[in-house]
Symmetry: C2
Subunit: 87 residues, 2 copies
């Protein structure tokens, strides 16, 4: 399945979320990852992100599509992500 | 069609983008709007957002689906958006 993860996570925790998500998905915008996941991987992502965030303060939305053929993407502006931020 | 807009826009311009998008879509996370749009509305959104941002600095991704029946959404944490921010 094709998955888009968008997050609004406090600066104290956001790096941990990014480092984790980078193992499974592609970083496409400052607060957006996307890519193909299996069902098992999706479960791992969901559970681990839940552990990493503060559910009272942070927000993460995971959009799940059967595949990327159902999806069209328009990019406006630059898609630069600052890799150095999470190293 | 069902549309998800995620943006990373400089603080100098972000309020204008939000105020505009609120006319067409629902604000679901700090930097995410979503909702149903017609083809004509999507064109308006795309053109206007392009005008409002600095394409050299900002990034906006528009995900377009045929409908929300192709989409499953998992929400982790709180989905609070600070309405006061854009008034």
């Amino acid at each position: 399945m094709y998955v888009i993860v968008v997050y609004d996570v406090n600066v104290d925790r956001v790096n941990k979320v990014r480092i984790f998500l980078k193992q499974y998905l592609n970083w496409v915008q400052n607060s957006v990852f996307e890519g193909e996941l299996t069902k098992v991987e999706l479960k791992i992502v969901e559970d681990r992100v839940k552990d990493l965030i503060d559910v009272a303060e942070d927000s993460v939305r995971i959009y799940i599509l059967r595949g990327d053929k159902f999806l069209r993407t328009i990019e406006l502006g630059t898609s630069k992500v600052e890799i150095s931020e999470i190293i």
